[in-house]
Assembly symmetry: C2
Homo-oligomer: 287 residues x 2
């Protein structure tokens, strides 16, 4: 089996690495070529100078870049992934992007006799490094069945959510839910701090019940400490929420709390916290 | 050991029952006497006609009623709990009430040579019935050490959070966190429904990661189904949030999302959903 991985950022770099470690023949492409050479020095495989060249002769091509425009740039046109991929091969886009883009790419791929899965992930940088990502896929069952065993190299769990675009839609729901959880923790923990509660005793107690969440267990220490250096940045969260707002508008879906939280993230950006993680919502209260 | 239990509502009735089933001599008091007689018919023990009479000769007296005023009514005055309790005995208030009331009662108890714990619970009606409540206590360590083994009859976990009032403060944090989690789910699940995602596949996937929460796992089916009949009512949630807002005002603590969610609960009340459970936040979107 031969695969390509396009985009060696904080997610793509270790994901492609897990593929190589699984003894798969991996060709990588990255916008900055030095990063691709560094990846090759660490994991072997081969390096291409365009996405199309990387995709040549591949059974599957994976991509994990920044946003809709970045995906279009590496996918379409004469140097793009779809121009290089063989007929019958599968393009798996791990980028968190719009459902619209997923449908557009699936449609273009189809005209080339290629298959497409939108497959945004959750689990962050740590999940990518440890190979325990969750993958939310949109596409047809046969394509998913072929891609799943390969994605197992870096995923703990992957699931077909429905037709093309459904992976992106599920990721939007994921981010909306996180906005609520984290804002609740920001307000609750700030309250706790101001009234003098002990964080450890508090979380040990309330995390066992109806208030419990992954974020509460995994972020309370750093939130109380005012440390926001754990991967998923405010800039990316706002990008993801923007995608959700566009989709929501199409369906006349209200997201009042999510919009409020997005406004708080905007404040954090304006104060220079672009690279802080999503739990930095509590920073607004710490002044 | 002899104990009294004051208040046989949806929480107190099964809690007192667990004490009786643990072979503790329990005397109960309830505002409506019929309920107390029904309890006695089911569990044995004895029934008193005033809180003071129930408290006579007891080592511990437990109370679980509606709000601050209800607690004052059964606690203070010549027919109140503190008038009946022996010197050296302990009054444990399981009502979710203000931290101020806890400090006031602890102070009155002290003048009688009695001890006090504020001890609000989480786990809801099901937790009370199954004897798996979480208890957040405020008071001194010696008093907590004496009360804890008795509370084990209905608690899976109890913890001393700090001085008197700390149990109530921890409960406030608990409710603030729940407001955020549930509103996130309401917006996320409504979005999911409108864009046509499959609830089961969605939750199976995103509940494993950073969006995961107790509420997501335990309430998603009923939220998608529009069923809000699972115990903790909107009326009670608004009471609890009101207590949190009063406390927050004293410390100049902002709770913007929690206030927004409280407003949504108010809307639900105005539309007759007083007895719906807290997950009914999604009902606003289902019209």
């Amino acid at each position: 089996m031969k695969v390509a991985f396009i985009g060696l950022g904080v997610m793509g770099y270790p994901m492609a690495g897990h593929l190589a470690k699984a003894n798969i023949d991996v060709c990588v492409y990255n916008r900055s070529h030095e990063k691709a050479l560094a990846w090759q020095a660490e994991f072997g495989g081969s390096v291409a100078t365009t996405p199309a060249l990387a995709a040549q002769g591949c059974d599957l091509v994976f991509c994990c870049v920044g946003n809709d425009d970045d995906v279009r740039q590496v996918t379409l046109g004469e140097n793009g992934i779809l121009a290089g991929m063989p007929q019958g091969s599968i393009f798996v886009d791990h980028t968190t992007a719009s459902a619209e883009l997923a449908r557009e790419l699936a449609s273009v791929a189809l005209t080339h006799g290629q298959y497409f899965l939108d497959a945004p992930v959750s689990g962050g940088q740590a999940g990518a490094e440890n190979g325990v990502l969750t993958v939310m896929c949109g596409g047809d069952a046969a394509t998913f069945a072929k891609a799943q065993p390969v994605m197992d190299a870096y995923a703990r769990f992957s699931q077909l959510m429905g037709p093309v675009g459904s992976g992106q839609l599920a990721k939007m729901v994921n981010q909306i839910c996180i906005a609520g959880v984290v804002q609740g923790l920001a307000e609750g923990f700030n309250f706790a701090e101001k009234v003098g509660l002990d964080p450890k005793a508090l979380v040990e107690t309330i995390s066992k019940g109806a208030a419990g969440s992954w974020q509460m267990e995994n972020r309370y220490q750093t939130m109380f400490a005012g440390e926001y250096d754990f991967g998923f940045a405010v800039d990316w969260m706002r990008k993801d929420l923007g995608i959700a707002f566009s989709e929501a508008d199409k369906h006349d879906v209200a997201l009042p709390m999510t919009k409020m939280v997005d406004g708080f993230y905007q404040e954090i950006q304006e104060n220079g916290g672009n690279r802080w993680d999503t739990s930095s919502l509590i920073s607004r209260f710490k002044k």
